[in-house]
């Protein structure tokens, strides 16, 4: 009677969306491996390890941006603490990476170097099982998920909203950062985890591992986009946007917003955790600065720049800002914060719907503004918009 979920998942994406996704898969799983591994280093099309790592890192950021968009763009809940969930996922997987170092650390001991330095004789209880890959994966999902669930339950039950919620999440990540800065917390304090050697026994710095981690990040992003697309086009997604637009109405027609918010909030945190777990082996370090309030604010800036309420917008925003950042921090490192601030102000003032909003505005100007244009088009022809939710995008444009 009921169509299998996989079939319905496939049916959610228009043909152009599948084409864009196939192109992305070709790039991530064929071109990057070939360009990095097979082509000689002096070849014009060779992709250096710097670029593979940078792009892999940005893919992880894109996942975080989509997770942020799901709660901010669709459910209207602004979190300024999403860096925390990202960092927790990173730390959870980092524990495993630390154990994989084995006796190859500078002290040649069984314990991670920082514990030897603190003169600890054995692993703290919460490091139990950290040498198991599967346990690490479980922690990557469970720690951010559980924290988000408990925090979300109390915050949403007390009907904390808007700027108050944002400030509390900001405080939460700041408190966690202070906690992780302490050596006694048992996560390497100031320095965090670094000097990783292996994953599952294979060298972490080999070109092959670099490509595998990159391909996994790409797979995660593709999976998260498909999941996000399914969610926002389901009735669940329509309830979420309804909560964003008129929460009391939602309650009086019999939905309990608490459960809806809690679900998307926890899911969003888990996605951030997964992204963090893939990020850490690619950059080779995790320390408490990942939990700094500024990092979490930056996540919100990515989404704002790209365009809230469209999945593709979030991905674009994370890409644009981070590519700009890596260029700036090399060329004019001292001006990056000013540029970020300028970008945020400019987007808020001139592009309330982000790059995606600008794009559909330009498209709207060229095409004659007919009644059909205002209605949700089933499948816009060009690819940047295909993963967006058409009703939201078009009506937002109309409202603005």
């Amino acid at each position: 009677m009921r169509t299998p979920l996989t079939v319905r998942l496939f049916a959610k994406l228009p043909r152009a969306g599948w084409a864009a996704l196939a192109l992305f898969a070709l790039f991530a799983w064929v071109w990057v491996p070939v360009a990095h591994l097979a082509l000689p280093a002096d070849h014009a099309l060779h992709l250096s390890s710097y670029w593979v790592s940078l792009l892999g890192k940005i893919l992880c950021y894109m996942v975080v941006a989509v997770a942020m968009d799901l709660i901010w763009g669709y459910a209207g809940i602004l979190s300024l603490g999403h860096g925390l969930f990202f960092a927790l996922g990173g730390y959870a997987f980092g524990m495993y990476l630390m154990r994989q170092i084995g006796r190859d650390g500078s002290y040649g001991a069984d314990l991670p170097d920082f514990m030897v330095f603190l003169d600890w004789k054995e692993l703290p209880w919460y490091w139990t099982g950290s040498d198991s890959f599967l346990w690490a994966l479980l922690l990557v999902v469970a720690v951010p998920g559980l924290l988000a669930w408990v925090f979300g339950y109390f915050a949403f039950r007390s009907r904390i909203k808007g700027v108050y919620f944002a400030i509390i999440t900001q405080a939460l990540t700041y408190a966690a950062m202070l906690l992780f800065f302490r050596n006694e917390t048992g996560f390497g304090g100031n320095n965090g985890f670094t000097d990783f050697k292996r994953i599952l026994g294979y060298g972490i710095t080999t070109p092959e591992m670099r490509v595998i981690l990159f391909a996994l990040s790409a797979a995660l992003l593709a999976g998260v986009l498909l999941l996000g697309r399914y969610l926002v086009t389901s009735r669940f997604g329509r309830v979420l946007t309804a909560i964003r637009d008129a929460e009391s109405r939602v309650m009086f027609i019999g939905y309990n917003p608490l459960h809806y918010k809690l679900f998307i909030w926890t899911l969003s945190a888990v996605l951030c955790g997964l992204a963090g777990a893939l990020y850490v082996p690619q950059v080779g370090i995790i320390n408490p600065s990942e939990m700094s309030p500024a990092n979490s604010i930056e996540i919100a800036v990515w989404v704002a720049v790209g365009g809230r309420g469209t999945l593709v917008g979030a991905v674009l925003g994370a890409g644009i800002v981070n590519l700009a950042k890596s260029w700036f921090t090399v060329s004019f490192p001292e001006y990056w914060p000013f540029f970020l601030g300028f970008l945020f102000i400019a987007v808020t003032l001139f592009l309330p719907n982000g790059v995606i909003g600008l794009w559909s505005k330009l498209r709207g100007r060229h095409a004659p503004a007919t009644e059909e244009e205002a209605e949700p088009a089933p499948a816009p022809a060009a690819e940047p918009a295909v993963l967006t939710a058409p009703p939201t995008e078009s009506t937002r444009g109309a409202a603005a």
């Binding site: 329509r238 946007t241 008129a246 309650m251 309990n256 809806y260």
Partner: protein, 281 residues
Amino acid sequence: MSTVIDRDAEQANQREQWEGGANIGHVVQPGELDLSHDVILYLDDITVSFDGFRALNKLSLAIDAGELRCIIGPNGAGKTTMMDVITGKTRPDEGKAFFGQTLDLTRMSEPEIAHAGIGRKFQKPTVFEQHTVFENLELAMKADKRVRRSLFARLTAEEGDRIAAVLERIRLAGAADRSAGLLSHGQKQWLEIGMLLMQEPKLLLLDEPVAGMTDDETERTAELFVSLAGEHSLVVVEHDMAFVEALGGKVTVLHEGSVLAEGDLAAVQNDQRVIEVYLGR
């Protein structure tokens, strides 16, 4: 009743009770609306204070099943606060509020009350502006509204028909795919009424439903409400006396948080106290 009852007769008698045939007793289903005494809404001595100001002052009101009741009263009489109490938005400081015989509204959350069968239309039309008219009705539709179901919910043909029927009834069939934000004020009012109908509530609370409507729309709204009474119970708060007259039901006048007068419109309009309140003496 005889003192000696044989077993068979006793059982038969009991069966009759269980089936609701006898008027002696009936089975109470937990969480179900119990209309055995023909009263759908019962407010008793409700008091609500905001910072010392008594928005409701020992308000008592009973609405019969199937009744169409109009509530009128000057600004600040407590009409909206009363609706807030009934729908769980505001908890009363004192007093009882029951839906049917068994459901204590003062202990239920807003979604629970909505599920039990009370639908509410706000004073300011509140629809989901970013959603299409069709989606607005779909979201309001009586269904399992838990997260798990909403993730996999798909519209059945029968549900599609129900939405189509309501679209016809609220005269928005041609605008089904427009976003609700683009509707006129009167159309939004109708959409919100349509959302209420999709919920299939037992009791409809309507706060100034014809504000901003044209005369023609107002007339059609009155017809719609009259046709709904009987099957549903309606409580309408309204200032438009022509509309109240067209509805033709019993009228309750609220003043300073309690009931000032009750009766048919003509009687109420001739009541000396009501005239004083409205003329502000």
